[in-house]
Symmetry: C2
Subunit: 201 residues, 2 copies
Amino acid sequence: MSDANKGPARGRPRTMNAEQVLDVAMNAYWHSDPADVSVNAICQMAGISKPSLYREFGSEDGLSRAVLDRYAEQVLSEIFVILQGGMGLRETLDALIEFASSDPRMETGCLFYKMRAGKHRLGPDTRARVEEIDAVGQAAYAAFLQAARNAGDWPDGPSVEAGAKYLGEQVALAITQRASGEDPARIREMLTLALSVISRS
Amino acid sequence: MSDANKGPARGRPRTMNAEQVLDVAMNAYWHSDPADVSVNAICQMAGISKPSLYREFGSEDGLSRAVLDRYAEQVLSEIFVILQGGMGLRETLDALIEFASSDPRMETGCLFYKMRAGKHRLGPDTRARVEEIDAVGQAAYAAFLQAARNAGDWPDGPSVEAGAKYLGEQVALAITQRASGEDPARIREMLTLALSVISRS
DNA sequence: TCATTTTTATACTATCCGGTATTTTATTTC
DNA sequence: GAAATAAAATACCGGATAGTATAAAAATGA
């Protein structure tokens, strides 16, 4: 707990860099689909052996869960930043639209949404983490909408929970469409239309 | 071409019923996911041997394509009936909402949308058919919206193509959410909200 | 009865998967 | 330099997959 020992001195020094493996796996999962990338393929792409990967991550489930954690803090956090930035309703929605339809990192879709869509194919740990992140995300959308309603920016009508779900699913839909090569301008147009029911111009 | 010969007189009579096999396969694909149902499993469920299935359908791709054709004429046709029923804008949208959020057949989602979501995992023939059906569907949505605009029911703003895509994707989203166990009332609320931008109450 | 035809049933192939046992290699400690 | 240690590389295991070769069975025609 005092000084973070950088590995034991004894034994053959390890050549495997766990973070680099995570990066390789994250990009592979992200660019195609978690269900279509085997651990064999990841080992080959990362230039490591299978036992090394299993010693580090325990199982495919352990790897994908670690990848998801990394993705959450590196990428998903951006959405939370937008939602919790304290901007007004309109500006926040515009930022969400901008992110979903134009952020270059979402060009091949969102790894989290891909995992959520194929939840039943994930290992138990990864699946549990997906559900946890999903719940946290929904809560963030709900908190944002509640604040807007308290400020009088979002008129009464749908419940906060329904609005949060709606908002989250529309963003997810837009980003998922980017992965299927849809024209970003068209996606922006559709997402703007969908979110216009929350904040009419 | 004259009389439809019901099988050759010679040889061992076949016990396999192609339509029953298609029903079994369709329900299996539909209830879970095409990518998660093997030909082995279908043979077992249908009580037939693998060579029989391959003689009838040629390949897994041939089977899934035949299933998709069957699904299109048995189930998807209903959406076209709604779109081409000649009802007013509002009534047609309400019928779409009713179908997507409450039709018991959509309780486990839509096989077509499942196939479209996992397009890259399908064989070439099935994938081509998915794209074809997708295009026909979009055209049907577009024709419907064009008629509404001509009748003055749908004010200018989004292009007909954008509106058609939006409408189709919102219906797909609602039905897909049913497969993940979302509360139908909540789904109806969200879909109603989404479609309210086309026909405000 | 016996050859022909067509379908069925069984058993098999090749490949890929996640996961692991075993051996080899590189390092520190003594 | 030898023992100990830890990682890496290779080769393997059991299981599932799509697809097929082969043999058995059930009918017809002569």
